[in-house]
């Protein structure tokens, strides 16, 4: 099996996004497994600032050389910051998916959606299931 980084301190959605709880907001990106599966990322289509995302609904698109994939909101909330760097450098998602390649930040009314996300161990199992 290939090697995937799955940081312990993050939470994960089954659609392969990671979420970090930063005080009053949630920072979102795609996982190492997802970026490896996608391959060379050439385009990220982001929502607008202030957009309302609903957990489980598509909010944007990530494109590799070969494929177009939807991004699904891992939690509900309002977009308060976008990683505008991705417009000119979408390959940051490949290079540093948990750092410089983050996608956006949300503000949520409560933590309930976050609490229901997978922890690192559960996400690891979710990845392994699909690898086999």
């Amino acid at each position: 099996m290939a090697d995937y980084e799955i940081p312990q301190e993050l939470r994960y959605s089954i659609e392969d996004e990671w979420v970090r709880h930063d005080e009053d907001r949630f920072v979102i990106g795609v996982t190492d497994f997802a970026q490896q599966q996608l391959g060379d990322i050439v385009f990220v289509e982001l929502p607008k600032l202030g957009a309302r995302l609903v957990r489980g609904d598509p909010f944007g698109v990530i494109e590799s050389v070969k494929a177009v994939s939807d991004l699904f909101a891992p939690v509900s909330g309002t977009v308060v910051e976008l990683n505008e760097q991705l417009e000119d450098a979408p390959e940051m998602v490949n290079a540093d998916c948990f750092g410089e390649g983050w996608i956006l930040a949300l503000e949520a009314a409560d933590d309930s959606g976050f609490e229901e996300l997978l922890d690192a161990n559960a996400y690891q199992a979710h990845v392994q299931e699909r690898e086999e």
């Binding site: 391959g39 060379d40 050439v42 385009f43 289509e45 494109e63 050389v65 070969k66 177009v68």
Partner: protein, 367 residues
């Protein structure tokens, strides 16, 4: 239905290839990065398994006559040891398949055909060739590797087939490659210099591994179907099922130079001329995207960027061009919109993105 495998399936898996379905075969789309595999071919050399492609042989005193009637390019004038690109057309002037014709001997030739069309082509050839033309489908017994890129001749020299360097473009010869009897042809589907190597299916793994081994020092990388597609698109080479199908005229696709229009005499010739005499309905155009995004196959081409603009065409292929660093594509549009420098609007998930009609090939690599 289970997927078919080429003789190199195990080698692909061992190399970490990501396997996907293509034309009923389980094929590597990439081993690592498509962009790096693409660059390896343009700058050094890449090695592709294209054993999924088919080879249909015609032999006997009627073989050449039969092929002349079946393909759009001249066959009788094709010298032994030479290859021509042509089209198998139907009676309506549509394209059954696009093929390369190899003149093996005075009375023997074979067609290299698309994997998705092997059965269709074979039935078409059997139906339209006289019994004396001995049609045989040797696709399963034949393996095919494509060694593409400026250093491809050096790699062949390193496995004892240096004589390949003497081949002219679209010429082939029987050579030993890594000690295996093979047919080496100076052809390809990438727009870069290169060779295609036909060998018996059972010998293919040995040739593949020798090329990988000796090629490593020359910068060789195994390359998958992902890079093959971006390379052929930069070269504006058509892909059956995208730019060509049973209803497309070769002239609409810009392939008139592969059609013996004066001589005629092949199936579909009259229909092609009839369609050529009528006002053209559509023309294949190459475009570069001016806005952001990727224009994918199937996306609508709109008359303008205005709301409610009429759909006037369809993208047939599109991808980011790794060489140019911008999005390129091919699509059918009304001839008036296919003029060089003209403006098109591509609908990308409902968003109108501007594109400009440009000359093809998009990229001219050294051949």
């Amino acid at each position: 239905m289970s997927l078919r495998r080429t003789p190199l399936y195990d080698a692909h898996v061992a190399l970490g290839g990501r396997m996907v379905e293509f034309a009923g075969f389980d094929m590597p789309v990439q081993y690592g990065s498509i962009l790096e595999e693409h660059a390896a071919v343009r700058e050094r050399v890449g090695l592709f398994d294209v054993s999924h492609m088919g080879q249909i042989h015609l032999s006997g005193p009627k073989a050449v006559e039969a092929a002349e009637r079946l393909v759009s390019c001249p066959v009788a004038s094709l010298r032994v040891g030479r290859v021509r690109y042509g089209l198998l057309c139907n009676e309506e002037g549509g394209v059954v398949d696009d093929v390369t014709v190899y003149r093996v001997a005075d009375d023997a030739l074979f067609l290299c055909v698309n994997a998705a069309n092997i059965e269709k082509d074979y039935r078409w050839l059997v139906r339209h060739a006289p019994a004396e033309a001995g049609v045989r489908n040797r696709s399963d017994e034949t393996g095919l590797l494509a060694l593409q890129g400026p250093a491809s001749g050096d790699v062949l020299a390193a496995v004892g087939a240096g004589a390949a360097a003497e081949l002219k473009r679209f010429a082939f010869a029987s050579l030993e490659v890594a000690g295996v009897a093979a047919l080496v042809s100076r052809t390809g589907y990438t727009g870069s210099a290169g060779f295609e190597i036909y060998a018996e299916a059972g010998d293919c793994a040995a040739v593949f591994s020798a090329l990988l081994d000796k090629g490593e020092a020359l910068g060789l990388r195994p390359a998958g179907l992902g890079a093959r597609d971006t390379l052929r698109l930069e070269a504006a080479l058509p892909l059956y099922g995208h730019e060509l199908d049973d209803t497309t005229s070769p002239l609409e696709a810009g392939l008139g130079r592969f059609v013996k229009r004066e001589a005629g005499g092949f199936i579909g010739a009259e229909a092609i001329e009839r369609r050529a005499a009528a006002p053209a309905v559509r023309q294949l155009a190459g475009f570069e995207l001016e806005g952001r995004g990727v224009a994918r196959a199937g996306y609508p081409i709109l008359e303008s960027a205005d709301e409610g603009a009429r759909e006037v065409g369809t993208v047939t292929s599109g991808a980011p061009s790794p060489t140019l660093g911008k999005s390129i594509g091919l699509g059918y549009v009304p001839p008036a919109l296919a003029e060089l420098g003209g403006s098109l609007t591509i609908s990308i998930r409902g968003r109108g993105v501007q594109a400009r009609v440009v000359a093809t090939p998009f990229v001219v690599a050294g051949r």
